[in-house]
Every structure is written in structure tokens, then in C-alpha cells.
């Protein structure tokens, strides 16, 4: 799907999309929870109100029964009947009924009651009709039956209409409030989801754009600092990083294309020329030797590039151990000393004993090797005369400082930043052997070991300084040792460290 047709499709399916958003689902879930909660609260209130009303009715009935029973005790059944007849006519009266022991009605305002009601003394809820009313709709009442002396029965009750009315009010309130919650909730969720959806869609569109090849696209930041903004900031930072890596890779690809094509072309030309012109087996042999040498150079470039790539991916760190860096530095100085002599340079080595770092021996060795190799290649003084390449290692606080210094032309300040890039060679004529990978590799190794790489002016010449975190245990820093370390170097013109 392309970014262009994504927009109309989005419009068309906006509602289904809306229902699928996280914001909508969350809001819906909240809505349900809130509605359940509201229903629970209303239900609780209703139940309590009913209980309160029932209690009230019950105590009213009890009071009346006691009063009537008292009247009966004082004035007999006749007096009771009179009182009931009188009370029955009052508006909003309670329900009364007095019967003989055999169940004949004597007085009262209740007409139809379910059969058997009078047989149960105590409290019950019944359907009834008043004597004055037409029996179209039975009412509910809470009644109590009291057994009078001599078998007469007295029924007193209160209509439950009030309670029912309250129930209706509460049910109606519940209905309305739930409806309101639902409507408001829907509206809120639609609003929230749409807002979030809009921003997410913005992100998706940016992502689509980037997939389509617009690598400059970035997600808009609203500036509210909310979680979506933070996500957008991080995504943008990630995109920037990817962009940098892509640019770096592009540059490397271009450089590889150039630097591998050159020797490949040479290789091909040589082979072709040998085929065309060589007459004797010896000439062919020489051409083949040349071809193999070119191929070996190509392999070296590949290996160096692979190594740099692995270093930059930080994938070598599992092979770290504690190293005696002093031994490595003096060993390398010793390895290169004859070569220096052959190049007309003297190599001096000033190494404090037993310096320890944590690292990968072969990588550190390769890095130092590259630096010394560079110093020997480019470190001859421009005016001629005896040049010196000075290799040193010493403790500097909680770091180990390694340095390789020469008296060659050095590196101009302006170029110091870029010599660590791959395939950068300051020797524009490219007359000296090399691929411009040596310092990139050194930089990669130093970074992997958590160190710092500095290029300094050796006035004249170049001084490359590597600072690496010292490993434990720290060498004993006694004055005597420091003195002996300082005095080791100079009287050793051959540069071979004293063992």
C-alpha cells in the first residue's frame, strides 16, 4: 500500500478504524466499569431506603396494634370496632380488619385479602383491595395479624405505594444516569480516540513516507510532552541515527567501490597484459605473482573492513581479559625495531613496567601495530636527518597512556578529525602503500575498549595518544619505580627494551 492511497482508504474506514483503536477500547472498558459502579451505588441506596421505609411502616403498625389492643382491653370489642370504623374513614388511613373467631368480618376497610391471611399471626405482605375502591388493580400492603382475646382477630396494615413510588424514582434515575454516562462516554471516547488516532496516523504516514524513500521525514511534535510526544522524539532520534548510519554506509560503499575497484582494475589489466604480451613462461610467472599479490592486498582490505565493521557493531567484547600492556608495547617495539633501522629511523621505547588493562590482546596489538607502522611509513623528517619514532606507555591517573610519536610532516589540525574515517588518505598521490583503514581500525579498537584517541602536534610531527582505563591491580606507584621507568628509555638508542 502506498502513502497516496492510504489516505482515502483511511477516510472510508474511519469508523471501523475508530472502534479498533486502543483509546476507544480503553474508554469503552472504563465506561462499562463506571456504569457497573453507578448501578451498584444506586442499588445500594435503593435497598437502604426500602429498608428504612419498611422499618418505619412496621413500627407504625406495631404502635397502632398496641393502641388498639389497649382499647379493646379497656372497652371491649365494641369500642374497638367503633374506633376502627372511625379511623377507617379518615383519609390516608391504614388498613384495618376485625373478624370473629370463625372469620366473619366485623369492621374495617379492607375488602379482598388472599385467603388464609388471617390464619397466620405476625407479619406478611399481601395484595388487597379497599372496601371503597373498585377492584381493578390490587394494591400491596404490609400487614400484621394480632390475635385478640376470645379468638377475635385484628389485622392492621399500611399501603406500600410509597415504597413502590420510591422504587420507580430510583429506577428512573438509574436509567437516565446510565444513558447519560453512555452518551457522554461514547462522545468522550470518540473524541479521545480521534485525537490519538490522528497523531498515530501522522506517525504512520511519516513511516510510510520514509519507507517510500523520503528519509528526511520526521514525526511532528505537539510540544505537550505527553507519552506520544516522547515516543515521537525517540522515533525521530532513531531516524536521525539511522540516517547517519545510512550516510556513513553510503560513503563507505562509495569508498569501497573506489578502493577495491582500483586494485581490481590493476589486477585485471595485469592479467590481460600478460596474456597479450608475455612471451616466456618467466614473464607469465611474474605476471601471475603480481596478480596474487594484488589479490592478497584485496583480501587485506576486506579483512580490515570486516574487522572495523565488527568493532563498530561492538561484537568483540566477549573476548576481553587482563593484559600486560607493557609487555605488548615493548614486544611490538622490538618487532619493529629492525624495520625502523632499515628505514633510517631510530625507534625508542619508554615503557613503565607491568601496566595492566582489560582488553583483547590481538585487537590492542593490531591497533598499536598500525600506529607504529604508520609512524615508520610517514614519520621520516621532511628535511632529512635522523628521525625518531618514540613509543611509550605510562600510568596517567587511573588510565594507561600509550603514545606513538614521530617527527614526520604530521597531520594538519584541519585534517585531524577526518583521518579516522575509512579510506581517508592524506597522501593524495597515494604513492605509499596502504588503504587508509589503519587509523579507522585504531579508532574502533580504542572505542571498544572505552578509551580515548587523540592526535597531537609533536612539533614537528605527529603524536598519537591512546588513553585506556587501567585494569586492576594497579601497578605499585612508588617513587623508585617511577624513576627507573623514566630513566629506562634514553640511553637505549637501539630502542630494544631492556628485559
Amino acid at each position: 500500500m502506498t502513502a497516496a492511497d492510504a489516505i482515502p482508504r483511511k477516510r472510508q474506514k474511519f469508523l471501523p478504524t475508530l472502534f479498533r483503536t486502543t483509546a476507544f477500547k480503553l474508554t469503552a472498558a472504563y465506561l462499562v466499569i463506571f456504569a457497573l459502579f453507578a448501578a451498584f451505588v444506586l442499588g445500594y441506596v435503593a435497598w437502604n431506603a426500602k429498608r428504612l421505609l419498611d422499618d418505619q411502616i412496621r413500627s407504625t403498625i406495631d404502635a397502632e396494634i398496641q393502641g388498639l389492643a389497649e382499647q379493646q382491653r379497656q372497652g371491649g370489642i365494641r369500642r374497638l370496632v367503633n374506633i376502627i370504623e372511625r379511623r377507617s374513614r379518615a383519609p390516608g388511613a391504614s388498613l384495618y380488619l376485625v373478624t370473629t373467631p370463625v372469620g366473619e368480618r366485623i369492621a374495617g376497610n379492607v375488602e379482598a385479602i388472599p385467603p388464609g391471611t388471617l390464619d397466620r399471626t405476625g407479619e406478611s405482605e399481601i395484595e388487597y383491595a379497599r372496601s371503597s375502591e373498585t377492584v381493578d388493580k390490587p394494591s400491596h400492603a404490609l400487614v400484621r395479624v394480632y390475635l385478640l382475646p376470645a379468638g377475635f382477630r385484628l389485622l392492621v396494615g399500611r399501603d406500600l405505594e410509597e415504597r413502590e413510588r420510591l422504587g420507580i424514582v430510583i429506577r428512573r434515575a438509574a436509567g437516565w444516569s446510565l444513558a447519560l454516562v453512555f452518551v457522554l462516554g461514547c462522545f468522550a471516547s470518540w473524541f479521545v480516540a480521534r485525537r490519538v488516532l490522528k497523531r498515530i496516523d501522522g506517525m504512520s504516514e511519516t513511516a510510510h513516507g520514509i519507507m517510500e524513500g523520503d528519509l528526511e521525514g520526521r514525526i511532528a511534535i505537539t510540544g505537550t510532552g505527553d507519552e506520544l510526544d516522547r515516543l515521537a522524539l525517540n522515533l525521530n532520534a532513531m531516524l536521525d541515527r539511522i540516517g547517519e548510519l545510512m550516510a556513513g554506509m553510503q560513503q563507505v560503499t562509495d569508498n569501497i567501490a573506489h578502493d577495491l575497484k582500483t586494485p581490481l582494475t590493476r589486477l585485471r589489466n595485469r592479467a590481460e597484459e600478460a596474456l597479450r604480451t608475455a612471451r616466456s613462461p618467466d614473464e607469465l610467472r611474474a605476471a601471475l605473482d603480481g596478480a596474487i599479490e594484488e589479490a592478497d592486498n584485496l583480501i587485506r582490505v576486506f579483512n580490515a573492513l570486516l574487522m572495523i565493521a565488527r568493532l563498530e557493531a561492538g561484537r568483540v567484547s566477549d573476548n576481553m581479559s587482563e593484559l600486560d600492556i607493557s609487555e605488548i608495547v615493548s614486544g611490538l617495539a622490538e618487532l619493529y625495531e629492525p624495520l625502523a633501522e632499515e628505514a633510517g629511523l631510530s625507534l625508542t621505547c619508554e615503557v613503565a613496567p607491568s601496566l595492566k588493562i582489560r582488553g583483547n590482546r590481538e585487537l590492542i596489538g593490531q591497533a598499536l601495530n598500525n600506529l607504529i607502522d604508520n609512524a615508520l611509513k610517514y614519520g621520516a623528517p621532511e628535511q632529512g636527518g635522523a628521525g625518531t619514532v618514540a613509543v611509550s606507555a605510562r600510568q596517567a591517573g587511573d588510565q594507561v597512556e600509550l603514545s606513538v610519536a614521530d617527527h614526520g610532516p604530521g597531520i594538519p589540525e584541519a585534517d585531524r578529525g577526518r583521518v579516522f574515517d575509512r579510506f581517508v588518505r592524506l597522501d593524495t598521490s597515494r604513492s605509499k602503500p596502504g588503504f587508509g583503514l589503519g587509523l579507522s581500525l585504531v579508532a574502533g579498537v580504542v572505542r571498544l575498549h572505552g578509551g580515548v584517541l587523540r592526535l597531537e602536534d609533536n612539533a614537528p610531527g605527529l603524536r598519537v595518544v591512546i588513553l585506556l582505563p587501567a585494569g586492576s591491580p594497579k601497578p605499585v606507584d612508588t617513587p623508585a619505580l617511577a624513576e627507573s621507568a623514566a630513566s629506562t628509555p634514553t640511553p637505549n638508542p637501539a630502542g630494544v627494551p631492556t628485559h
Binding site: 596474487i292 579483512n303 574487522m307 568483540v316 619493529y336 629492525p338 624495520l339 593490531q366 607502522d373
Partner: protein, 226 residues
């Protein structure tokens, strides 16, 4: 010398068997790990040359299985993985040497011959190496030629020691760098040549015949040419 080459790339295998046969060795070929294991188990080989990535059973597992069977035939691992860790893994699995691809055949041949010789050698190293009139006393750290003492730097002594230990065999520059200096990286220059020529100046100058020979396109060899 009988060799088993376990390599799945038919062309590389054909090249190797042909090259080894040309220099007078017997070379068999297995095209995958299981076949290689079966053939190696049959025994009778002096050296195994094993590609690291093989179908059915990879090279490291093959070597590990052999070592579990108490088969200690020297094994050289060939691998396109050339990084430091890969070499360490290869040696840990029981390999005796590790050569990254692409390699020069001369390098492979020199290493295989050293491995084969090591197998036949007695368990303890002799205390004295003797090639013609050149004598190296490992205990006294003394080198003499025609009875005259030659004074060597410690590293020069170890260089000559390694060359004399493998007298009559080609020793490559990488082998010297690995065994004398214990460096497993690429110096990209002819450092080793300079050291050997210094050693040669001390050992061969003023004596006849020369002992340290340069083998073109391969490395060096100490040999009494009389």
C-alpha cells in the same frame, strides 16, 4: 603423508587434493561432516584438513566428536570466519591449527607438514637441535656453528629455535609471527623478513653453506644443503 580433506565446495576440494597430490602426499576427500567423521574414524590419516562450515555435521562438532573418541589425529580448521574469537573457538573445540580463508596453498602445506611431523615426534623435545654444524642448546641458551659461539638476542634465539625445530620444513611468515611472537594479527609489512635477515647475518655470514633458506612465495627453511 595421508591427508583427509573435509570440504563441501567441490571445486576447492578438487584444487586441494590435486595440489597435495602434486607435492607427493596421499589426499582423500569427504564432502560433508558425517562422511568426514566416518572416514576419519576409519583411521590411518596423519592430518585432517576440515572446513568449518559443513553440511550435516559442522567442522567443530566433527573434531569434538573425534576427540571424545580419544582420536587425536591433528586437525587443521579452514574457515571463512577470520576473526579472533573464531580462531579461539576452533582451537577450543580440539583443532590444532586454524587457517582463515582465503589462504595461500603454501601456507596450508607448511602448516599441515608441521602438524604431521609433530605427530611422529617423541613426546619430549630434545634439549639440543642440530642441523649440520649448527647446534642450538635449548638449556644453555647457546648457539654454536663449527664450534664457534654465536651471540643472539633472546628473540633471535627463539626464532632460530623454531626454525631448527622444524628443520627441513617450510615455515611461513605467519607461522613465525604466531609461534615466535605470539601475535595473531596482520602486520601488513615485511617485519618478519627483516628479523630473519638479521638472524641470517649472524648465523650464515662467514660460514658455508647457508643454513637459512628463503622459499619463494612460502617462507623460510633451515636445512643443511650439503
Amino acid at each position: 603423508m595421508r591427508l583427509l580433506i573435509v570440504e563441501d565446495d567441490a571445486e576447492a576440494a578438487a584444487y586441494l587434493t590435486k595440489a597435495f597430490r602434486e607435492v607427493g602426499h596421499v589426499a582423500d576427500h569427504a564432502a560433508d561432516g558425517l562422511e568426514g567423521y566416518a572416514m576419519a574414524e576409519g583411521g590411518g590419516y596423519d592430518v585432517l584438513v576440515i572446513d568449518r562450515m559443513l553440511p550435516r555435521l559442522d567442522g567443530l562438532s566433527l573434531i569434538r566428536s573425534l576427540r571424545e573418541q580419544k582420536d587425536d589425529t591433528p586437525a587443521l580448521i579452514l574457515s571463512a570466519l577470520a576473526q579472533v574469537d573464531d580462531r579461539v573457538k576452533g582451537l577450543r573445540a580440539g583443532g590444532d591449527d586454524y587457517l582463515p580463508k582465503p589462504y595461500a596453498f603454501s601456507e596450508l602445506l607448511a602448516r599441515v607438514e608441521v602438524l604431521a611431523r609433530r605427530r611422529g615426534a617423541p613426546a619430549s623435545e630434545p634439549t639440543t637441535y642440530r642441523v649440520g654444524d649448527l647446534v642450538l642448546d635449548r638449556l644453555a641458551h647457546r648457539v654454536t656453528r663449527e664450534g664457534q659461539e654465536i651471540v643472539l638476542q633472546p628473540r633471535e634465539f627463539r626464532l632460530l629455535e623454531y626454525l631448527m625445530k622444524h628443520a627441513g620444513q617450510v615455515v611461513t611468515r605467519t607461522m613465525l609471527l604466531e609461534n615466535v611472537w605470539d601475535y595473531h594479527f596482520d602486520p601488513q609489512t615485511n617485519v618478519i623478513d627483516v628479523h630473519v635477515s638479521r638472524l641470517r647475518a649472524k648465523v650464515d655470514k662467514g660460514f658455508e653453506p647457508p643454513m637459512i633458506h628463503t622459499i619463494r612465495g612460502a617462507g623460510y627453511m633451515v636445512r643443511d644443503s650439503r
